[in-house]
């Protein structure tokens, strides 16, 4: 077995990352990649970890759960398949929707994205001033494969956005990097 994925979700508090990293160190593992985010008071972290040679998944999982003091965190462990490490060929675009929040908004937009075979690799909600509900902004960073017709996707997204009373932008990520980075 080469790599495993550990996902930890729960109430945020100081010490979560150090406790996860500490257990992995004790078990002879190396953290190869990690991503974590905090949404309001909730923590979510994903760790890609390589285990010592000869370790099998069931043994590792038992050892981890046995050693880690979960303290209200939900921890999920699974092996990582080799093909998971390869990012498909494509380009990064940023989709933003601007307008009043409504039930199903994320579902509607993300369904259009999914039906086009496009993956959302980052998603965040930005609320520009609480007293202006017209200016709620959702930001989707997507990886558009080379095989996807961007114009059709753009047209479908804009149609959907209009039906939801939203303004929508669909732009290559480079323009954001270019404007904001020296």
């Amino acid at each position: 077995m080469s790599k495993i994925i550990i996902t930890a979700i729960g109430k945020d508090r100081p010490g979560i990352v150090s406790s996860v990293a500490g257990v992995l160190y004790q078990l002879g593992c190396n953290i190869e990649n990690v991503s974590q985010t905090i949404l309001q008071s909730e923590f979510a972290g994903i760790y890609i970890v390589s285990t010592p040679e000869g370790t099998d998944f069931e043994t590792f999982s038992e050892q981890f759960h046995g050693t880690f003091d979960e303290k209200g965190l939900h921890v999920h462990i699974e092996p990582m398949a080799l093909e998971d490490t390869q990012e498909p060929s494509g380009e990064h675009f940023i989709i933003t929707t601007i307008g009043p929040d409504s039930r199903g908004l994320v579902y509607d937009i993300s369904t259009v994205i999914a039906e086009a075979g496009v993956n959302i690799i980052n998603l965040k909600a930005v609320f520009e001033g609480g007293d202006n509900p017209e200016r709620n902004i959702m930001v989707y960073e997507v990886l558009v494969p080379d095989t996807v017709d961007r114009h059709i996707l753009s047209g479908t997204l804009k149609e959907k956005a209009t039906s939801l009373n939203l303004a929508l932008t669909f732009q290559h990520k480079n323009i954001f990097d270019t404007v904001n980075r020296i």
Partner: protein, 457 residues
């Protein structure tokens, strides 16, 4: 992932603040098209321009779509026709203009600029033929722009040429009297003309440039205005130094957008990238105004006392921001004050805040000159030549580019209204002193000598 404010500010600039790539201009060198035979020359022009520009419009649209930013105009600038077509007479020059117009339609560009001559020190046969051809050429075509450089800091001011240009402007306006003198709106008289301007009507491709080049003109007065408004709202006692810094940083971002688009167009077409011209170039659209920036800065109107100082600060900050953003900044790069193309500036003229004297003063510190200024149709050639000479002198002495795009509107006088249409907008005709009078000064002709500081060696 970018942070929230970076995302929001970029989206707002592109969606709500009228940031656009005002033009991608393909510069094409025509010296290898030269011929003594008119038909061969016209065929050479068509072959070279259609070969290089065939995919320009489509490429600009695709790249604009990719980045969610419109490339508003796709244009071509060419080597000065007064030089390339030097063997031909005035009538033949008009034929050449018509051929260029047909080519512009064929490849789908808005304008071809470069029906031009460089006569700061003297006029050759080709230059004279071109200047003579200008009124008819601009009347019989829709998509051709002309420019003549009559002065430079190194050479002085060719007053014979100034008088000829006054004559050409008047004649062109008369021939297009049904359109309020529209031909004159496609004609610029320059001092120290830059050879890589992507904006019309002054675009041409100078000597020393590559065989073909992509130049980009990016604009965004609305973006600058909003940045100033936000900053002052957050801190009302902001000093002018801090305001200049905000303008500079905003200009930097805007320039980066232009370079991104321009370089990608250049790479796609396999043509070298030339320059980004960051010019705050307004349009007659609400929110896309240079004049409004003055009000954001605290002036009651552009033209009120303090305007020249404000414009000096604005123009300089724009240049600094652009220079930091790109190592290939060129063209005019600064702030334009085109009267008819800016709703707010036009209103300032109508309300009496701006007259031709104040406009002339402000051109000392802006990046162009007396631009899209409608004057009485009965302005004499001599008075018109005097106005041009004044503007050229500002450029010559101060080692900067200045230009005149003046429209004597036939049949109309000060206070009347001229309508040019589209991006050229509309304007109230402003008063001119000694409007119909004589002017022996300009009739002396000859060349005003170059200033002493031109001896730089």
């Amino acid at each position: 992932m970018l942070n929230d404010s970076e995302l929001i500010s970029t989206v707002e600039m592109l969606k709500y603040e009228h940031l656009d790539v005002r033009t991608v201009t393909l510069g094409i060198n025509l010296f290898d098209c030269a011929s003594h035979d008119l038909e061969i020359f016209k065929a050479n022009l068509r072959k070279k321009i259609t070969r290089l520009a065939g995919n320009l419009v489509e490429t600009c649209n695709a790249i604009g779509d990719k980045y969610g930013i419109e490339v508003v105009n796709k244009r071509i600038s060419i080597s000065p026709i007064g030089v390339v077509a030097a063997p031909f007479n005035a009538d033949q020059m008009v034929e050449i203009a018509k051929t260029l117009n047909d080519i512009a339609v064929e490849v789908g560009v808005d304008f071809i600029g470069g029906f031009s001559a460089l006569v700061e020190k003297g006029m050759a046969n080709g230059d004279r033929a071109l200047i003579e051809a200008i009124p008819e050429a601009l009347t019989q075509t829709d998509r051709i722009c002309a420019s003549v450089n009559v002065g430079s800091t190194r050479a002085g001011i060719n007053m014979d040429a100034v008088l000829l240009m006054a004559k050409a402007i008047k004649r062109g306006a008369e021939l297009t009297s049904d359109k309020d003198g529209l031909a004159a709106a496609k004609l610029c008289v320059f001092c120290n003309i830059p050879q890589d301007v992507p904006f019309m009507a002054g675009a041409y491709l100078g000597t020393g440039e590559a065989d073909a080049v992509i130049n980009v003109g990016v604009s965004g007065p609305g973006v600058v205005k909003r940045a100033i408004d936000r900053a002052i709202e957050a801190k009302p006692d902001l000093g002018l130094g801090d305001i200049a810094e905000i303008i500079k940083r905003t200009a930097c971002k805007v320039t980066r957008v232009g370079e991104l688009i321009g370089r990608e167009v250049a790479d796609t077409l396999d043509i070298p990238f030339g320059v980004v011209d960051l010019s705050l170039a307004p349009t007659p659209t609400v929110g896309d105004s240079v004049g409004e920036i003055f009000q954001s800065l605290g002036l009651i109107s552009i033209g009120a006392p303090g305007s020249t100082a404000a414009l000096a600060m604005l123009n300089d900050a724009v240049k600094k921001g652009g220079a930091f953003a790109s190592s290939h900044v060129g063209g005019l790069s600064g702030a334009f004050i085109p009267v008819s193309e800016d709703l707010n500036i036009e209103e300032a003229c109508r309300n009496g805040f701006l007259n031709i004297e104040k406009l002339e003063a402000m051109t000392c510190v802006c990046s162009v000159g007396l631009d899209m200024v409608a004057i009485p149709g009965n302005t004499s050639e001599e008075t018109l030549a005097g106005i041009i000479a004044d503007e050229m002198a500002i450029g010559m002495i101060n080692n900067k580019t200045t230009a005149c795009r003046l429209i004597p509107v036939p049949g109309k006088g000060a206070g009347d209204y001229a309508h040019f249409g589209g991006l050229l907008g509309h304007a109230t005709i402003i008063d001119v002193k000694n409007c119909q009078g004589e002017n022996s000064f300009v009739r002396h002709g000859g060349r005003i000598p170059a200033p002493i500081h031109s001896l730089k060696n």
